[in-house]
Symmetry: C2
Subunit: 249 residues, 2 copies
């Protein structure tokens, strides 16, 4: 609960923090950072562990430092929809709300930088840099949510899978020195079930469409989780999205 700093996992100097320039604290000056430093603490979670359940009292807000967390909504009968995929620097919790609105789960091993809600809210009032950055991040999340709504409402299973692979590749892929300049590879941080919860599909359909993309030569699958994309443009064509745009692919 307090700083149970897992040595390998938890940094403690904001200056060294890997998300220093992208998280909610990105705009803070060093004096503001010093104040944040005083109220922050780290928590770590193993892959699969719950961070908090929807409806539970939530007396902190947090940034993802390393790892991935997911927000999910669950219906009475168990149908589950992921509504947020939280990557390093993403923010969890809502200032001004005291219970969690979603289930938060560690999808991979996870380190979070937490702030007790009360002092954080007070700091938000005092330092506009935090509120400014939070607004910006929230607007970005809203855009992402709207992209996701298009995917859920109108894309085919194959397009959904391709779109998810593109999203993950964009953030995690390391370009390989393979034959093609635009070949990339990465390890999927999600199980088939997590993918299905993200995409509004069943895990069987996810598996089938992964196999289909493999058979089409769009992706290469090794050991279930390691994905190689020989030609990124080929994958982009499968997403159904506008590709004309230009050079930024």
């Amino acid at each position: 609960m307090t700083t149970t700093a897992h040595p390998k996992a938890a940094p403690h100097e904001c200056a060294d923090c890997p998300i220093r320039h992208r998280a909610v604290c990105a705009r803070c000056e060093s004096d503001e950072l010093a104040l944040l430093e005083e109220i922050k603490y780290y928590r770590t979670f193993q892959a699969g562990q719950p961070v908090i359940w929807s409806g539970d009292r939530m007396d902190f807000v947090a940034s993802v430092v390393t790892g991935i967390a997911s927000l999910t909504q669950v219906m009475e009968d168990g149908r589950t929809q992921m509504v947020g995929l939280l990557l390093p620097s993403d923010f969890v919790g809502r200032p001004g709300r005291d219970t969690a609105a979603y289930n938060v789960t560690a999808t991979t091993d996870l380190v979070m930088c937490c702030f007790r809600k009360k002092p954080f809210e007070e700091m938000m009032q005092a330092t506009p840099h935090i509120a400014q950055r939070l607004l910006e991040m929230t607007l970005d999340e809203l855009d992402a949510a709207r992209e996701w709504m298009l995917l859920l409402g109108r894309k085919t299973a194959r397009e959904k899978i391709a779109s998810l692979l593109v999203i993950i590749a964009r953030r995690y892929a390391s370009a390989t020195s393979g034959k093609a300049a635009n070949a990339v590879q990465f390890d999927l941080p999600l199980t088939r079930e997590a993918m299905s919860d993200y995409l509004g599909l069943t895990l069987e359909t996810v598996s089938r469409q992964m196999s289909a993309l493999k058979k089409s030569g769009v992706i290469v699958i090794e050991a279930n989780r390691h994905i190689t994309i020989p030609d990124f443009d080929l994958l982009l064509d499968e997403t159904g999205d506008d590709t004309d745009g230009g050079i930024l692919s």
Copy 2:
């Protein structure tokens, strides 16, 4: 472009404005309001007219005063997904962005209170009340978007329709002095096609499920658009949502 005040449609005193206490200006003091008053202008649109197209230059932000607007995304092949339903007091546009990210269309006759983007952004810097309120509204929209994602990803056609009717009823319904205390009625502000774009269905499926709900006695349809809900709890049961919650239904 300037204040082409359509007499019946456009108020011009902020003090009399119907959205004064819910819009982005809700927190403003009277001196701040006076500044806003100077940079604002009204625009009106007829039902069905486009407000702006995705990708177009957008040099204003705005609040919906009366009527309904929709945000939609369209894929190359024409598949369309509504990603925002803008009701009175809702905000359009993103400070710091200079092109529209979505198509904005007047779903009903529409009056918007517009601010030129540049002066508005300057005011945002100067008056924290505006940014605070915008953050709050954006967080609310994000929650709504996540609820919507659950609907798109996991609900059946029947549940989708019921959920949409509940959303509209909650905002537009007038309680009727009918037999049941919880009977409500309202006019649907959306065509079947707009409903289908909202729900990720075809318009035929929307029509069929509306008929099915009618046949089940959950709703009464008169003249295609006027809906009566004899027992609101019955409709709630059809949404698939948690109903246990409590008295706030």
